[in-house]
Amino acid sequence: MASAPSKQYSDDVSLLMVLLDTNPFFWGGTNTTTGVLSFSSFLTHVISFLNSIILLNQLNQVVVIATGFNSCDYIYESSTSEAIIVNSDNGQMPALCSKMLQKLEEFVIRDEQLSKENSPTGIVSSLLSGSLSLALCYIQKVFRSGPLHPHPRILCLQGSPDGPEQYVAVMNAIFSAQRSMVPIDSCVIGAQHSAFLQQASYITGGVYLKPQQLDGLFQYLTIQSRRLVPDMGMICTPTDPHKPNCATYP
């Protein structure tokens, strides 16, 4: 089933790049203090959502990139054949899940090894610029693979605050996304709005969303996904009331 030529369907095929915030300080923090959304329930929502995207069209592609504190990496790619092999441990988990969790764990260990300070001070932001760049690189690779390609989108799931020192890098990534017409959707699950992601969504024509009910994240994501998947165009989605209020960019 995987051998169907993807190109002839490329009109309604999506390539969804998901940037997962895996900042341990954010997840550790929310987990102990508020307990609104734990990392595991967050992953539950996200994985269910990714599954629904893949279910919608066999040719849809999903790529997950972990946005860590010290590094970023690809942790899941639906197009590679190994991801499709059904891993039935106990039948409780989708195939996607166990593979991704495995990779995620490896990533977290690697990320930890890279950290230098024992307990960082100031704003503990994730490497958003890095993961945005990884996503754009992947999309460029897909663009160059042939004349027809799926519609790419980037979905940023961000919890930790913006890192001011990444400002230039993030803006550059946003502009290159704008240039290659890749919309950046953002879903902020942290306490604060993210000015970076507001800019990103506004400039690239994506959706900026800050859900109020975090335990309903899956529902927000699926409703939002009418933008992600062309088939669902009939559902209307809340538009972004948060136009960026800082500098405007050409």
């Binding site: 341990p24 550790g28 503990v124």
Partner: protein, 608 residues
Amino acid sequence: MSSGQVVMRARYKKTAKAPGIQGVLIMTEDKFVFTRDDNMSSVEVDVGFRSIKGHKFTKEAPQNKALLNLTQEVKGGGYIFEFDKFSERDICRDFVGKVLGKLQATQSSAQDANVASEKPTITVHDEQLSAEEMELRMKLLRDNSELQKLHKQFVIGGVLTEAEFWATRKKLLAVNASRTSKQRVGFKSAMIADVRPLTDGRTNKVTFSLTPEIIHQIFTEKPAVHQAFLNFVPSKMTEKDFWTKYCRAEYLHRTKNAVAAAAEAAEDEELAVFLKQDDILAREARRKIRRVDPTLDMEADEGDDYIHLPDHGILRDGSKEITDTEYEQYRRTLAQDLNRHAAVVLEGRTLDVELGDTRTVAEALAKSKKAELATEKSDDKANQERLERVSRMAEIEDLQAPHNLPFAPLFIKDPREYFDSQQANALKALGDAGVGTKTINCSLSTGQAYGSLRELISEMKVTGLSDPVVKPEVALKVLNGLTQHLSSTKYNLGKNPQESILDRLPNRTKEELLHHWISIQELLKHFWSSYPITTAYLYTKVSRLKDAMAEIYPNLQGIKESAQSDFRHQVSLLVQPMLQALDAAFTHYDADSQKRSTKSGERSNGFI
């Protein structure tokens, strides 16, 4: 003229073609009267200037008659007067222009007075407008309905004077003025140098027809012919002979008879001038070559020359052009002709002489050429420049010191601090300061944080996804929340989310908002430009403007209140900056007048 009356002999005509009636024209400040010579007692024309809309006149030229046409408001109606001399006509024309300008000014101020009768008219007409300027302003107002609305609201409403209103739009007036300047007609782009010979088919006679226009173009395109004309005519031959010879040479060119051309040139040295390559052109070309960008390598393109290959080349008049070395100097290729023609057309017409007399055209052309050469840099200087350019082009950029413009670097003590504070501001502006203050718990050590994260992941590996993913109650809440949000923006269904909020508002509200915004801008522009207040005039102007702005203020509130509930929030967002701008102006006004009053208390003889 200063006496306020002009008396002139003129012929009154009902139409431009009619012979007209001889008589006397008397113009006073408010009317003009014409009495005919043959019947002094009866007055032919007696019209007040009030009914005259404008005046037209003929250009001063020997073939033109000195006419003055006073047009009436009624379409087509008018009074045409013919004068003996242009100077006489000009006196009348100037007088009419002045009278009409004055009339228009008083008319508009009368209008001001009518509308704002309860207010004292403060209109000061300190500028005397010519009829043309007046017409230009009228036209601008006619063409731009927005401008017209503003004009009606503020100038006729008495808030701004005519002069003040236009003072901020000098650019608009200037642009239009420059546009009216006459454009000079250039050369035709068709190659008229290809004077086609006409043969009648029976005899061997060939006829060329030359017009002044063609001659002018021949002179500019072929400097050698121009030179020869100056040399030979009329000392050596008549103009007719000259052109006959020229046409003969042309004919030889056309028939591609290079051998015959060479033979004829040997016999007749004057004819040879036309047949040989143009020396002046060649010299010019050499000069141009010296100015070519030195990094341009023409030789590199030599391989692209296909002209000599079979089935390639340029066809002209049905036969292929080939350059034959032996008679080359008697041939002109199409490429040469085309290039020369293109150069002349691009250069444009530099001469402003009435075409007609060939001799004057030729001389004027020579004069303009000389002036051109004088302004161009001498060859020495050009050479120097060329060398400079070579060195500039050949330099390797990486090895050079950056030749940037001097600038003062932006000094930010600590960029981190700057951006942090920016983010804090942004958050504050978003209005969720309550949530924003809750910072991340970063008391965790790195090890702890990573440890707990890893723990969560491995835990999840065992338990799998939680079931159900979303609890039904939560799902309902989310759905309700989203639906509510959607219903408030239901008009937006299927539309581009990037579109302006304005488009979603009802048309009337949108137009009102836009209009208010424009009027506020206009008023604020005048308001702020009046500061600092140095004269009593500015003081009254500012208070006038303040009153006008205060009138708009409640209107904005009204719009906000009258908006439907769906749009109220958006409208208030739009109105907010307008109110802020007005508030800023009011605050400044109050602060300034307070300062002023304390000052005038100290110095009782202040101007206010």
